[in-house]
């Protein structure tokens, strides 16, 4: 993408100089990410800041002078007075207070040229910090199309910083911007380094800054001759109390369908591919532990990571499109009241809805929520939504134990139970969110204050790059955690091997078998036999694995019609009460190592996965206990 900047005639001379450090600051929706992409192309690194969940995006470019420029993309903000962990990072990075970060030599303030009022105040705040600044008037093409006249010389004089018009998505003005950054750095020559004196402005000072910004705006900018009327017209429909809600439901339905069913063929293909690979490799290796490790541990483990990719990419395609178009804020507006009732942010609906397909992309999608507490609450309840991996377990148990009867003439009893399980997941998610809000973060009523950006046509390159980046981040960061958990589960289920001459399936002699036997007394009160307890251990790999694990434990040959056979085998071994308790367990239990892995990745700490594991296990135990005993009392023994 950045080939033009790579051509560096003077490279030899300036290459020795220390790389120039630049930070990007701007309001949300100013095209800052597009600017970051335009500057750095594909040479980007995504990591986390030490100790916080905030994503750190850094990239590099080589300026025309041959100097290397390191660009840091800071979270969007309206002010240096930070209100969220993201904004704290932005403030501290600009002030040079961020531990482990070299202070930037130059700050680029990215502005939406069509919406300057608030960003001018931010620019004034940045100027007061004393670090060299350049103002990038991004989306200048849209401003010109609207007939918005901006006197850049005047603006530059008033703000005492260079002002460059840019169109980040088309890389217009980017080279000029880099040249201005270099000039600023040369002029300052180290004067801007080190932490600067800064303190939070009071309300009076914010008012004064706003007045100053207002004055500059009036002096340098003529209002548009042809203002954007599309946004108002579209909002008239999209925010309409009836039409808007119907359209939102349609959009959500489409997204859910795409994630749920659209990804299915690709996921099946991936699963089949890895099974095939495992088979081929299995033929090449001699029988034994190594073969089992490679085929059932590593290959199956990698497969279980890659299989999430289609859902993640499709979901993020929707999220990034909706975000770039400007619709995400509208959807949050429409849903704020409903989600707010449960103590969740309006934007929590996307993660929660996606969690019906799978909690992994759902938890990754909580990135759309800025507020840390709202985000953590959403992460905590996301796995309670009934994900598609529960369906095989539910189907197996329901078809084996619930008679095919109709109730009230039309409803199938099996269908009713199925629906009940879905409803239990949804209701408990909202209840848990409400409890978390009331008990743990009592009184922390975050104001809901959100700019609704003007609608824009998204840039396909930008969307594609951001979707690919999400996939890459998942593979690199969450994938490694998930893979190691998969290998651990394989190890537990395989080692030690079955002793010679022993009867019964090998898993009964493994560590998993021992753990299963050990936890059986604990699970006996909820009606679980030791076989069920053992199956829970490999079932940690993924919920649907429980079906295979039960088949293994009950030594049901897996081939051809296995599920029907397994069903009747379970019906012979389990009481109805045990079966219902098992269903109740699966509504709540954290039977998914990948979910815990991705929570670790997204929260950057083991604390939250541990809390999640604990509360979900407690809920599952309580639900299974109540279900078992009620069923027993009603004669389901």
């Amino acid at each position: 993408m950045s080939d033009t900047l790579d051509v560096a005639p003077a490279r030899a001379g300036a290459a020795a100089a220390r790389p120039l450090r630049v930070a990007l600051v701007g309001n949300p929706n100013s095209g800052k990410t597009a600017m970051f992409n335009a500057l750095t192309g594909s040479r980007q690194k995504v990591a986390n800041y030490a100790g916080v969940t905030v994503e750190r995006k850094e990239g590099q470019l080589v300026a025309a002078s041959g100097r290397t420029v390191v660009v840091l993309d800071l979270p969007g903000t309206y002010s240096l007075r930070a209100r969220s962990p993201d904004e704290v990072v932005t403030r501290d990075a600009v002030l040079g207070r961020l531990a482990g970060e070299t202070p930037p030599d130059v700050v680029i303030c990215v502005a939406d040229a069509t919406n300057l009022r608030l960003v001018l105040r931010l620019a004034l705040e940045l100027k007061a910090v004393g670090r060299p600044c350049v103002l990038a008037l991004n989306m200048i093409d849209i401003a010109q199309r609207q007939g918005l006249e901006i006197d850049t010389d005047r603006l530059s004089r008033e703000l005492s910083m260079p002002v460059v018009g840019t169109v980040a998505t088309r890389r217009r003005g980017v080279e000029t911007l880099v040249a201005e950054v270099e000039a600023q750095a040369a002029e300052a020559a180290g004067a801007g380094a080190g932490p600067s004196a800064w303190r939070e402005p009071s309300a009076t000072e914010i008012r004064a800054l706003h007045r100053e910004a207002e004055r500059i705006l009036k002096a340098a900018v003529r209002p548009p001759k042809r203002p954007d009327t599309w946004t108002g017209r579209l909002d008239g429909v999209l925010l309409h109390p009836v039409a808007g809600v119907l359209i939102l439901l349609a959009v959500l339905f489409l997204m859910f369908q795409a994630v749920f069913t659209g990804a299915k063929p690709i996921m099946d293909l991936i699963t089949a591919g890895f099974d095939q690979l495992s088979l081929i490799v299995g033929h090449l290796l001699p029988d034994g532990m190594l073969k089992s490790l490679i085929c059932d541990g590593v290959i199956a483990g990698v497969g279980s990571v890659v299989v999430f990719l289609p859902q993640i990419m499709i979901l993020f395609l929707f999220i990034i499109l909706l975000e770039d178009v400007g619709y995400m804020a509208r959807a949050a507006f429409l849903l704020d009241r409903i989600m707010g009732g449960a103590g969740l942010h309006g934007r929590a609906f996307i993660p929660l809805l996606s969690s019906f397909a799978c909690a992994i992309p759902g938890i990754m999608a909580t990135r759309v929520i800025d507020n840390r507490r709202d985000r953590l609450t959403t992460i905590l309840v996301a796995p309670l939504m009934t994900c598609s991996a529960r369906i095989p377990v539910y189907t197996l148990i329901i078809s084996a134990f619930i008679p095919q009867r109709t109730v009230w003439g039309v409803l199938s009893l099996q269908g009713l139970v199925f629906f009940g399980l879905y409803a239990a997941g949804l209701v408990s998610a909202l209840l848990v969110a409400w409890v978390v809000r009331k008990i743990f973060w009592r009184g922390a009523a975050e104001p809901f204050l959100m700019e609704l950006p003007t609608y824009k046509v998204p840039d396909p390159m930008n969307v594609a790059r951001n979707v690919l980046q999400r996939g890459q981040i998942f593979l690199q960061r969450a994938g490694t955690i998930i893979l190691s958990m998969m290998i651990l589960i394989w190890f537990l289920s395989t080692v030690p091997g079955k002793p010679a001459g022993a009867v019964g399936p090998a898993i009964n002699y493994s560590l998993a078998g021992m753990i299963g036997h050990a936890i059986e007394p604990v699970l006996a009160p909820v009606g679980f036999s030791w076989q069920m307890s053992v199956a829970l251990i490999p079932g940690m790999a993924a919920r649907e694995v429980a079906v295979g694990a039960l088949a293994t434990v009950y030594s049901v040959a897996g081939e051809g019609g296995g599920e029907a056979v397994l069903g009747s085998s379970l019906a012979a071994h389990w009481s109805l009460a045990s079966a219902l308790a098992f269903l109740a367990w699966y509504v709540f239990a954290p039977q998914c190592a990948s979910t815990l892995g991705v929570v670790k990745r997204e929260t950057n700490s083991w604390r939250w996965p541990i809390i999640m594991f604990a509360y979900m296990t407690a809920l599952a135990y309580a639900a299974a206990f109540v279900t078992y005993h009620v069923a027993l009392a009603l004669g389901g023994g």
Binding site: R83, L118, M450
Partner: protein, 109 residues
């Protein structure tokens, strides 16, 4: 930018009484006359809501108009704020005191 709060209304003899943005219905418009710190029950430090509103552009002299209301309980509201659009909950808008535009005869709002 019109600054109705700063100048005497040319036609009306009496100013419309101040009204909170939180109580406005769709179509309600006026100029912010005063911004008070009136946070909803607890949680925020004193002056915090006021500063957040200021940073979003809710500043004395700015024009506001309620463009849309949520479909449940008419909450939250979407307002035009000078040339931006901002969504907020009514309970957070309580401290935004508006001098309503005089009601002119004409098509219903």
């Amino acid at each position: 930018m019109r600054r109705l709060a700063d100048i005497d209304p040319p036609h009306e003899t009496a100013l419309e009484p101040l009204a909170s943005l939180a109580d406005g219905r769709r179509g309600f418009s006026g100029v912010i006359a005063e911004l008070q710190d009136r946070p909803a029950a607890g949680g925020l430090a004193a002056g915090e809501l006021e500063r957040r509103l200021l940073e979003m552009g809710f500043v004395e002299g700015a024009r506001v108009e309620i463009l849309h209301e949520g479909f449940i309980g008419r909450d939250p509201i979407c307002v035009r704020l000078d040339d931006m659009r901002v969504a907020l909950r009514r309970r957070d808008a309580r401290g935004v005191l508006v001098r309503p535009d005089p009601v002119r005869p004409g098509p219903a709002r």
